[in-house]
Symmetry: C2
Subunit: 694 residues, 2 copies
């Protein structure tokens, strides 16, 4: 044992509890007939150690603000977490374990956020959890900075640790590599990642695909790295829990770097035949093997779901320890509350995700301007105007800050001060995030930041690179996390960088994601209104698609133009006709101006066209039917949409009689006006389509 | 100089040529007003060294089979490649350089495959090129194995080297990490990656986001790593070309590992003010700075696009050297051709991407079977049956081989023999790929394999994880590469793993990608026909969406069921009515059986329903109008589609009067029959929708 670290108490009852865990895992998978028993068995001592000895948490209050956080990145081994929740006395019963992977149960195949008390994050898609944990650790620092910046290290009620467990697969995925590199740069001393190094994945021996020196890689990232080898170099398996305890203590003592613990295990230990096999990873062990394992461990092979009363009484004593820890913590919080009434009020507000009164009183309003501004610039203006009143709003870019306009004026970077550059001043508690060219980690880290509880992150890149972060976007939508994506350069309007950088299909592909709001503002004022609406939503991610190029600022409230506040409706009549329109023109973002111009051309020919600006289909679908019918009367069948992207999905809006002005192929490298003309995204094309539709 | 390596000749003319490169880069960006001059300037000596001294290539024949391959992963620095193509005498003129980033030019913003002679791959989205290069190196080994497996190392006309240049951004992206780890496992001695370590990206100093020890990371991957520091530890910049040459020679001498060369540079060197700045990365330098640089280098500041006759004559002499190399190579190839007539015929066939006669004579045909088989199993059957006749077809999975059924029976793995496992026998020239849990690298590596020229790869994962590889899928579509994705577990039919693993929106999101064929077969026989059709296509990627669960095998050619060969049409009448149908039911994949059952239920109520199986919307859209109208008469407006995914995009098919049986939310963890019923993807729902539509 490292001298000076607390002693580990590990009795026969603990050992029995660990064996109980293994057999519960085997039985649960066997009962439903499918699942992942192997890791839950061999990792039982490690998970038990965390939940029973290492982590500070309160089974009676999974949302206790003083708790350490736990992320099971290898979500397929959900039993690793469920069984610990059960033993520790969370709202998880033996019957829940018996209902594993069945309809309506507390114990779905992978842990699900907002579904099972004690689960902090939905995991399963590999690599994500590692990046989520990095987000947790970053959020913890930022939140401490907002609430208790001057406390000595470890002395604040807002100090806690983030623990994660991951598998081989998590570390093969690029997203974990991206996030881990950034965690090194950020010197996240409050993060400890345990790697279950069992050298088995679904294709069995990982030697066929994963031969790198992972520990050396994490050292290269600047992490504190330790190895605990329960295989003793292959000479004989011994679950040296003391060594793992020591490693956790050492990790906690290192506060200037994140910690990585390589734990060498044998999967499905100690099942006599299944141990060390790929089969045990993702399949039930079979009755015979489970019987043999029970006999080996001194359990009754004829019984299933065996939990000795003595065991459960012992493990649920974590509640008593929690009550004690909580008492001390509450005193610390009370003292903080008395000393910091304003911050305490802030904490209450942030917990409820409420916006302060008048937060949006001074948002920019743009005068009519034919030359206009790019919507990405307006978005940057919003951030600069809004951040003073919204300390919870923070974010940055995947190395495109200047292009994405994601840096609010005068705000420091969230960065160890020693990492400051000429352009960016680092502050431990800073606000501007530098993700590096790591879109995927950016997405997953933002999910972790939101899940941690108090703040609201945004992250920018080019819209085309939303593809790089798509798995994290999907998880934000699935978990209903209020993350905001600032995706600029949202069409061929990007110009010279060419087809690799020009999104064509992305708006459609993003609209297809359930629970994601996609918003493409038409001008600067719509952009402000879009942000205002986004900030009011707390249960879903929002994606802003913003222009690189200047867009005219429409003369709101004059010349027949509607107010920009209607943006919140998702679609609205920007310019109407007198009487019934002959045709309705729908546009989004930079193409609304094309619809406006087409309306003029049509008017010259005596055709009355209504222009509907449709920044967000999702928001429009949430409006009541009468509003929707007012904007788009079902009887008005002549309709044209114009958007510089694929038509896919637009038929819903324009109907059988409608026409879609779209782009069904990739772009090209040239200035954007050339591209719009060459590809026929023009007012003339809209006019022709309108006549065709009427 | 390392002893024993060839000597480098580097004259004043070479130096002048390098300076010419820098100024051409500055002038080209200045002329168009946007672009990336900095890297092209500072990397000029390295790129020149490669094209003029290191690589074997023939400017008069960019497709010469004996050439080394070059990948510019940092595609934004496209001038790095364009200018070398110009100097070496490819079909690239000074006027082309003057047309940088303009409509119709040979010199788009990023290098584009099949657009500019000498460009092997489209790059720009960062990290992809590194993975493409790994794919090149793997393909080179596989192709050698098919054509000349017994030649001594370096003695085959099919031996060549793969060179890549990458930037900081490439190495921050997870996809390069994934591919580089795999390259280490695969011991790709034919690959050398140069990292332009200039510590500048768009957000300026990379110290704010990229502080890891990259060289140590590549050592951890098992690469041979060298560092060449032109900054001399920051004491003074000296472009020590000899040291870089030595590093390339040493890299070539190491044949049991890929090589990584860290080249420490100062971006935009030697521009007096712009050097070392973030501004020089992505913006024109400005006239004054360019003048100053020209003066510094002894060029006339009043001229632009300066190329001394002596310089171009010198650099184009690479053609003469190529002619000599080619003579020797041709002799070697001729000798091989005489000795290997069958393999020579194979080479000719592979070059044309033609299929051999009768290759598909013995593909499986499945008898009618109500219990049926999963389409993923049928896909595996296809592979096992087809590989004997198609040596070009190879592939594997991102660690889901058993689930994706991607391992043809009896085939060895593409793997150093020492990496063999109990389950997989490794062979240097093997056929089964083990990507590890690295979907993104899998996608990008497959692109590189196709681009290398002779073979056709496939790669498998769960459909939901198509998101992880989406940037590479897009690039396959953009480049028209015949890659095949084997995406199984294609709906809530996956069952117990729950919402993180159940694709809902993926079919829609993939159909939105221009140039990608999405095919979702309804039964085993459709699966075989889908593969047959895919193999006949050479200009586009194909995505198979396959079921986890068994699907009934329809009784083809009896009981009114159409032949499965109609699969190639994309949609066809599976079961018709007598006379005009009252309603048309569209289904894809596992939901076609639901449409069939609904047809029976409707028939019992006297409603005549046609069932259209629609495995591929893209294929159907390629059919002539008369066929399309025959399958879906425009006058038949009562239509219902059923697919266990979002409705997005289906309105095109069913029209205003149609109804869509779909899933607009995420799934859940339970057995799949429960899910289909709970979520209303049932025959009863189709019946109700049909009545509603009529």
């Amino acid at each position: 044992m490292t001298s000076g670290t607390p002693a580990l108490e590990w009795t026969d009852l603990d050992k029995k509890a660990v064996d109980t865990v293994r057999l519960l895992a085997a039985d649960a998978v066997q009962k439903v007939g499918n699942g992942h028993p192997g890791t839950a068995m061999s990792l039982a001592p490690a998970a038990y150690l965390l939940y029973q000895k290492v982590m500070r948490h309160d089974p009676t209050d999974p949302h206790w603000a003083g708790r350490d956080r736990f992320v099971l990145s290898c979500g397929h081994s959900s039993l690793t977490q469920y069984i610990q929740l059960y033993l520790a006395g969370y709202s998880m019963t033996l019957d829940d374990l018996k209902s594993l992977r069945t309809w309506g149960s507390q114990t779905p195949g992978h842990p699900e956020y907002n579904h099972t008390p004690g689960v902090e994050v939905t995991t399963g898609p590999l690599g994500q959890g590692v990046a989520n944990a990095v987000g947790f650790a970053m959020a913890a620092r930022r939140e401490r900075g907002l609430l208790d910046p001057d406390a000595a290290p470890g002395e604040s009620p807002f100090d806690h640790h983030v623990y994660a467990i991951c598998s081989d697969g998590d570390l093969e995925e690029g997203v974990s590599a991206e996030a881990s590199s950034l965690a090194g740069t950020q010197q996240l001393g409050n993060l400890t990642l345990l790697w279950d190094d069992n050298r088995i994945s679904i294709e069995d021996d990982t030697n066929i695909a994963f031969t790198e020196d992972v520990a050396a890689r994490y050292e290269a990232y600047g992490w504190h790295v330790q190895t605990v080898d329960w295989t003793n170099g292959g000479t004989g398996y011994e679950e040296d829990v003391q060594a793992l305890w020591d490693a956790y203590q050492a990790a906690e003592a290192v506060t200037d770097r994140p910690s990585f613990i390589q734990l060498r295990t044998i999967i499905a230990w100690p099942a006599p035949s299944a141990q060390g096999t790929g089969g045990s990873h993702g399949s039930a062990l079979g009755d015979d093997e489970i019987r043999a394992t029970k006999e080996l461990l001194g359990f009754d092979p004829d019984q299933t779901f065996i939990v000795d009363d003595e065991v459960i009484a012992h493990t649920q004593s974590v509640r008593d320890r929690a009550a004690e820890q909580r008492k001390t913590w509450q005193e610390s919080l009370d003292a903080w509350t008395s000393a910091n009434p304003e911050r305490a009020a802030l904490l209450e507000r942030l917990k409820k995700r409420e916006l302060p009164d008048g937060w949006d009183a001074d948002l920019p309003v743009y005068e009519a301007d034919a030359k206009g501004v790019a919507t990405r610039v307006a978005s940057g203006d919003f951030l600069s105007a809004a951040v003073a009143g919204l300390p919870e709003l923070w974010g940055g870019s995947a190395d495109l800050a200047g292009s994405n306009n994601t840096t609010p004026k005068g705000e420091p970077s969230f960065l160890p001060p020693e990492r400051s550059s000429e352009k960016f001043q680092g502050d431990w508690y800073g606000r501007v995030l530098h993700f590096g060219i790591r879109e995927h980690a950016m997405g997953a880290i933002m999910n972790g930041i939101v899940q941690h509880g108090l703040t609201r992150p945004y992250g920018g890149t080019f819209l085309v690179f939303s593809d790089y972060m798509r798995p994290a976007v999907r998880l934000a939508a699935l978990q209903e996390l209020p993350v905001t994506y600032v995706w600029t350069h949202d069409s061929i309007g990007l110009g010279e960088d060419g087809p690799t950088h020009q999104p064509i299909e992305h708006l459609a592909a993003l609209r297809a994601i359930p629970g994601l709001d996609v918003i493409r503002p038409a001008d600067a004022n719509e952009t402000i209104e879009a942000w205002r609406t986004i900030m009011g939503n707390t249960d879903r991610p929002s994606a802003l698609a913003l222009s690189r190029q200047n867009l005219p600022t429409f003369p709101r409230g004059t010349d027949g133009y509607a107010e920009a506040s209607l943006t919140a409706r998702g679609a609205y009549i920007l310019l109407d006709t007198e009487g019934d329109p002959d045709v309705i023109l729908f546009g989004t973002g930079s193409e609304v101006q094309i619809a406006v111009k087409a309306r003029e051309l049509l008017a010259a020919e005596g055709i009355a066209a209504r222009v509907v600006s449709m920044p967000s289909r999702e928001w429009f679908e949430q409006q009541d039917e009468s509003y929707r019918n007012q904007v788009v009367p079902p009887t008005s069948r002549a309709r044209v949409s114009v958007e510089a992207g694929v038509a896919f999905g637009w038929r819903d809006v324009v109907g059988d009689a409608g026409r879609i002005v779209s782009l069904e192929h990739y772009g090209a490298s040239a200035d954007y006006t050339t591209l719009y003309n060459a590809f026929g995204i023009t007012a003339e094309a809209v006019v022709a389509a309108a006549k065709d539709s009427i």
